[in-house]
């Protein structure tokens, strides 16, 4: 209850049927500080932020703003009190201009109720300039890069005279240079005495920008610490409540012969200034090996995986050799039959059947093996047995194959999708950023899973947006930059600096 507390959260509890999302949380946010909130998925970070920003209005406990009790009736009320939130999923109207988005709902008007476009554009331009964002305010929001779109949201918040800005994992879709710009923007906001609440998974970011760090776990506040008085290891420990052993795979894996070779693969990019999404990519993958692909967003990692899996809309050039045979898949079904499996980047959009049960999700790719004659109807007993086998094999935490897949945590959903593809007995497993949105504990489990699959003779191609992850699990790492292969490192040679250098190697 220090005198400088801007917001005090007092005994705030939020219950959902069957779940306590927040349990008597007490927290003071000081004026002008940058305060990070960390915790595993489901720890209650988002719920707390939604209460602060007026998205959730129905909770127990009190909020005090400058010592006065307040209760927001909605996001408008919170904005009026100076609290804005930038959601992880940006809230822009893509068809409207940047300026129109900034002034959405508070449009400036001239006489007769006509819009005053000119003055809105001028004001928007000034705001964006102050944020190092040199986009034209008349540009359509949907045509902008994600980093610029985010700055539009920040500009919107500033135009509301925001005193407290909540950012929910703001860097998850940014390139390194955009992240650097965001840090500068945050620095500038702090000079203007804006208080920042920053939610993130990434330790380096948190330790770089925050003054204090609050750890939530299972809806309870574990501890609030000064940055100077702690280190990432301790924070990780507080988040999971246990020490994560730096997953060590000391015993070296033994790659046993080439399973996949890519020669001079190029993917054209029709109608784009750069012409090629991928250009002259050549590498080989051995069975029993994890090959990492590093690269910034847009480097072509996902596109490569789509080519290898027959999921690319545009045909590629070059040759792919799988297990000694030249292949060219036109549909994922062909890739599946040949022993290639892809676990996609965007789990929710491209992977999960969220209205189905865990069991149905697991067996989706291998139903043909689970039918009985004469109508080729699905044999429920075989299906349940297959699902249960996969659940125990991958240690998926669920009440059983009949549980709804959406009731699982992110890590277990990811395991469900991996289980689906393991049932196809693949030779090559393509994992596109498999640990995105997965909490720390589940990440370690996924690493162990990859290791054991690899030791069983599977060849794994892994992309990740986090370099330390690649350095931990991969035998070799290749680096992409703007569609070209710009570096190849063995596990011993690779360091974060070397990888980042190769990934930013522009001509």
């Amino acid at each position: 209850m220090s005198a400088s507390a801007l917001i005090s959260i007092r005994e705030v509890t939020k219950r959902y049927p069957g779940v306590v999302a927040l349990d008597s949380v007490n927290l003071d946010i000081r004026e002008g500080e940058c305060h990070s909130i960390v915790g595993e998925n489901g720890a209650g970070k988002s719920t707390l932020m939604k209460i602060l920003s007026g998205v959730i209005t129905d909770y127990e406990g009190d909020l005090e703003l400058r010592g006065e009790r307040i209760r927001f009736s909605g996001t408008r009320a919170a904005e009026a009190a100076g609290i804005s939130i930038i959601h992880q999923e940006l809230n822009l109207v893509e068809e409207l201009s940047a300026a129109a988005n900034i002034f959405l709902g508070r449009e400036k008007v001239r006489g007769l109720g006509l819009l005053d476009e000119a003055s809105m554009e001028r004001a928007a331009g000034e705001l964006l300039q102050s944020l190092e964002c040199d986009v034209d305010p008349r540009e359509r929001a949907g045509a902008l890069r994600v980093g610029d779109q985010q700055l539009i949201e920040i500009a919107k918040a500033l135009s509301l005279n925001t005193e407290i800005l909540i950012m929910d994992e703001p860097t998850s879709a940014l390139t390194e240079s955009e992240v650097a710009r965001l840090y500068r923007v945050i620095e500038r906001l702090r000079e203007q005495n804006v208080t920042i609440l920053y939610i993130s998974h990434k330790m380096d970011e948190i330790f770089r920008i925050s003054d204090r760090i609050t750890v939530l776990r299972d809806g309870q506040l574990v501890e609030t610490v000064d940055r100077e008085a702690t280190d990432p290891r301790r924070i990780t420990h507080l988040m999971v409540g246990r020490e994560i052993e730096a997953t060590s795979f000391d015993e070296p894996r033994k790659p046993e012969g080439e399973i996949l070779r890519v020669e001079n693969l190029s993917l054209p990019w029709p109608g784009h200034a750069k012409e090629w999404r991928l250009r002259d990519i050549s590498f080989s993958l051995q069975s029993g090996e994890i090959l990492g692909i590093a690269g910034l967003m847009g480097a072509g990692r996902t596109e490569l995986m789509e080519c290898l899996f027959g999921a690319s809309e545009i045909p590629y050039q070059g040759e792919v050799v799988l297990d000694g045979e030249s292949v060219r898949f036109r549909h994922p079904a062909e890739a599946k039959a040949a022993g290639v499996a892809l676990v996609t980047e965007d789990r929710k959009r491209l992977g999960l059947f969220s209205q189905m049960s865990v069991g149905n999700n697991i067996t989706m790719c291998t139903l043909d093996e689970l039918v009985s004659m004469p109508l080729r109807q699905i044999d429920r007993r075989k299906e349940t047995a297959a699902a249960e086998e996969s659940i125990s094999q991958l240690a998926i935490k669920t009440s059983g194959p009949d549980a709804q897949v959406t009731s699982l945590s992110g890590g277990n959903q990811q395991k469900t999708i991996i289980a689906r593809w393991l049932r196809t007995n693949p030779k090559v497993l393509l994992l596109d950023d498999p640990t995105r949105g997965v909490d720390v504990g589940a990440k370690a489990e996924l690493y162990r899973l990859m290791d054991s699959l690899c030791r069983d003779g599977l060849g794994i191609l892994l992309t990740s947006s986090e370099l330390p992850e690649l350095l931990t699990v991969c035998d070799r790492i290749i680096v992409f930059c703007e569609g070209r292969l710009t570096g190849e490192f063995t596990r011993e040679e690779a360091t974060e600096e070397k990888l980042m250098e190769a990934a930013t190697q522009l001509e």
């Binding site: 489901g42 992977g351 999960l352 049960s357 139903l367 009949d402 709804q404 009731s407």
Partner: protein
């Protein structure tokens, strides 16, 4: 649930197989109870005792109509489950009537079944003509369905547009075609064809034939959707098309199948309907039926977003719609057909509202916020009053009649107004801690009538939800 996985596991173990069965078939159970309730209520308030006096006749009539609706509702429902929409069924019904009757006329000419003036005689048709006509009609429906699938998967039109074109185009084509057919095969250019053959007419007029056909189609489609790989893939495509493609499912073939099932079930219903009315009248046959089919599917638990719904639900949805329409027809004497649209509209809104409420458990729902709420309280009041005036049975003495009606209208309107205003006052109370407050909510009385389950914001509803497996709700299992 994430914070306490142990509880979920225990819960699922302790739940008996009966409650498991219930949670799997919640929509079906609700509809069965609702159908029963509507029948009981109709028997109780029916002034002429029509149900009790002629129970057999009424039951068979309801079954006949529900079966014909059920056949093409299943087709529309499968398209909806696969993530699309088929607006063409009403027009396909009319068009297939034309095709079926045209084939019969043509084959009569071919077989020499003509009278002295050269007009075909359709009184005693050989069986092969009927078989050929029915197969030909189903074949045409297959072509129409394939055309839809081509427009949607190859040309990449939105399903709404592709089938909307058929909705408008096919009926018109049928009307043009029937005149030319008459000109070629008969001596006139009528806009109708009448078929006099007794066997043909019996198809739709013997009540058990549509019922048996519906049952056979239902069994086949139930097996397809519930137990085959193809069915599972259709649910997958409806639930997440991108994920389905990336799982190696051939989207195009599965959609082709779905749209063909859509048009071929409509054609089957069209043949039965044409047999029931004894010919083809493309300007009137099946007018607006596509919406009845979609309504039956939605009431039966299909989500227009795709991926959810069961064949059993759709069939019960069709029966429920028909039972309500028939019940209103029995209690309101004058021209029940005119009430049909109102009933279908009301039931669809209530069913979807109810599903929404079920998925929004825990949050206090405001029904009448602000000015929009006030306007709708007034409009609902007026609507209820008018409905009361319309349905008040017209007594024998015409002098008191209008006064009675007005009186009833005012009473119903007044009660509605009082209830809705009370609800609004309750909503506008400032929120007080402790989550959802258990208070019976007037408007949900209607909702309960439809699906006979409690509103989630009441205490009973809440316990029920908590008792279930976390996250599972009763949607679980509908996908299988």
């Amino acid at each position: 649930m994430a914070s306490n996985p142990g509880e979920g596991i225990q819960g699922s173990h302790s739940s008996s197989s009966l409650s498991r069965l219930y949670s799997r078939y919640a929509t079906e159970c609700g509809l069965l109870i609702a159908i029963f309730a509507v029948v009981v209520i109709a028997i109780l308030i029916d002034p002429t005792n029509a149900y009790l006096e002629k129970p057999w006749y009424n039951a068979t009539e309801i079954l006949r109509h529900a079966s014909i609706l059920g056949i093409f509702a299943m087709g529309a429902g499968i398209v909806i489950i696969s993530g699309g929409i088929d607006l063409s069924s009403g027009s396909v019904i009319a068009f297939s009537g034309v095709i079926c009757c045209s084939i019969i006329l043509g084959l009569c000419q071919y077989a020499g079944l003509v009278d002295d003036t050269g007009n075909p005689v359709t009184a005693n048709l050989p069986v092969w003509i009927l078989v050929a006509a029915i197969s030909g009609t189903l074949g045409v429906a297959f072509i129409v369905g394939s055309f839809h699938a081509w427009l949607i998967t190859v040309i990449r039109l939105p399903p709404f547009i592709a089938t909307l074109a058929s909705l408008v185009g096919l009926r018109s084509l049928g009307r043009v075609l029937i005149q030319d057919v008459n000109r070629v095969f008969t001596s006139n250019a009528n806009t109708q064809i009448y078929i006099r053959d007794a066997t043909y007419k019996s198809l739709g007029n013997e009540w058990y034939i549509p019922v048996i056909i519906c049952a056979v189609v239902a069994l086949a489609l139930f097996t397809l959707m519930r137990s085959t790989v193809t069915g599972r893939h259709l649910y997958a495509i409806g639930g997440n098309e991108d994920a389905a493609r990336l799982s190696g499912i051939s989207i195009e073939k599965k959609k082709w199948l779905a749209y063909c099932i859509g048009t071929m079930t409509a054609a089957l219903a069209g043949i039965l309907y044409s047999s029931y009315v004894g010919g083809a009248m493309p300007d009137r046959d099946g007018l607006g039926y596509e919406l009845n089919a979609i309504a039956a599917a939605v009431v039966g638990g299909c989500s227009l977003a795709g991926g959810l719904g069961t064949i059993s639900g759709i069939v019960l949805g069709a029966i429920f719609l028909r039972v309500v329409i028939d019940a209103v027809a029995k209690t309101v004497k004058d021209n029940p057909d005119e009430f049909q649209g109102m009933i279908v509209g009301l039931l669809v809104v209530l069913a979807v509202t109810f599903n929404e409420l079920r998925s929004q458990k825990g949050d206090r729902k405001k029904f009448f916020p602000g000015a929009l709420g006030i306007v709708n309280i007034i409009s609902l009041t007026v609507l209820m009053g008018i409905v009361a005036v319309l349905v008040t049975s017209d007594g024998d003495s015409s002098t008191d009649d209008s006064r009675d009606k007005l009186f009833a209208g005012c009473i119903v309107a007044g009660v509605t107004f009082a209830v809705l205003v009370a609800r609004k006052m309750f909503e506008s109370r400032p929120a007080v801690g402790q989550g959802p407050v258990p208070v019976p909510i007037p408007i949900t009385v209607n909702v309960r009538d439809v699906s006979s389950t409690e509103d989630p914001s009441t205490e009973i509803g809440k316990q029920e939800i908590e008792g279930r497996e976390p996250g599972g709700e009763d949607d679980e299992g509908r996908d299988s």
